[in-house]
Symmetry: C2
Subunit: 240 residues, 2 copies
């Protein structure tokens, strides 16, 4: 069985972000976001590298009693952060990912989010699921410096989604749980991703999350234009 | 710098193929292919994993004087094959890919085709190019059992493309060097790839080539429908 030492340093960056280049600076918070164009100008597309969310109980098993996650870098969404702490994820055939970042704050259930490439390397057939929807998904072993957690379920490929506030949703003409699509224009690599779940609430910033495989497929770093569209927008053509 | 032993056995398969499931069996060669629908029914989408093409001179340096490539598996296009022989590809920082398959027959110029993930792991900033268009691209070192070749150029990320014969091109209303797009419908992972170069000649079979990153992004193995479309097909909507 051939193996290769794959340096993940470059793709390990937890969140790479591209702000649409065609747009002016984000409007001040007091400005109304009434048109799609003005909303689009604030669109951020982020690549989520593999990571995990943990319960406080699991944090303490892995890092010691009373341990609290240490924020290292704030994520784009307010209140969320990449923690200093990382864990090792071990699959069923003792294949492992040595350094998987924990995102905080802690949650009610632990969950490991992988790209397809990661799930192949771990030997786990992780289903595409939306965050939190882990019933019946495969488990894994999580190894920390002070202990080990055997997760009976919770390993997923995170489904594409877009965060936004209710005003943005109104401007786009969508509701929570609708689907949208994202067109990323890049030299020779233009891609449209469909099936982006709308996760709208009162406070989220407008941000699409795709995984590393998706980011690599469209060569996001070279993107020249990013457009978020309704899944079934007005179009006379039935081929979309 | 964190590294991880990534088992590539599963994604090493040189060509994974999906034949569109919505279609009946391919028509007999004598049938006319006059409509897009009848052409579409023969559409094959293949994932090209990393591989290289070599000159006969380089084959002999790497494998010994007089060596001929040994066909291991025929590719979908007649006359082409994955060879038994593999080489090691070494990047500028002595990072390497230990087992890169050679595709035959030999060519006039040696060339290494990588996915984005591979180019990151090798530390080579490979540009997106169409096969054969290697001027000014980065080089690498190729290591075989009998010798070493230092390639001054030839490392690329292969651009998406579609092979077809001239009758297919006519049915689609495209010419060689036009661009098309491919919509792959898969549960929660539907993707449309634009910028597929048309490579049409008298004899090629209808086949799209995408790389492993692109195949992983759309979860090709789970695809339920595949459609090849003109890049600018009839559509009243200007958003595509």
């Amino acid at each position: 069985m051939s193996t290769v030492a794959l340096d993940r340093a470059i793709i390990e960056r937890i969140v790479r972000q591209i702000v649409t280049k065609q747009a002016p600076a984000a409007p001040a918070p007091s400005e109304p976001s009434s048109s799609v164009d003005s909303v689009q100008s604030r669109l951020v597309v982020s690549i989520s590298a593999r990571h995990c969310h943990l319960t406080q109980e699991h944090v303490e098993i892995l890092f010691g009693p009373g341990h609290q996650l240490t924020p290292m870098k704030n994520l784009y969404q307010d209140g969320f952060y990449a923690a200093e702490e990382t864990v090792m994820i071990v699959g069923p055939k003792r294949r492992m990912l040595p350094t998987v970042r924990i995102l905080g704050p802690v949650r009610n259930a632990s969950q490991v989010e992988l790209a397809f490439t990661d799930s192949i390397s771990l030997g786990i057939d992780a289903p595409v699921r939306h965050s939190g929807d882990i019933r019946g998904t495969p488990g894994c072993v999580i190894v920390g410096p002070k202990g080990v957690v055997e997760l009976s379920e919770g390993v997923i490929r995170a489904a594409r989604h877009v965060h936004m506030n209710m005003k943005d949703a109104e401007a786009y003409g969508v509701k929570p749980k609708d689907f949208m699509k994202l067109r990323i224009e890049a030299p020779q690599c233009t891609v449209t991703f469909e099936d982006l779940l709308v996760r709208a609430d009162e406070t989220s910033k407008l941000e699409v999350h795709i995984d590393t495989d998706e980011g690599n497929a469209c060569f996001l770093d070279s993107a020249t234009k990013v457009e978020l569209l309704k899944q079934d927008h007005d179009c006379a053509c039935k081929k979309h």
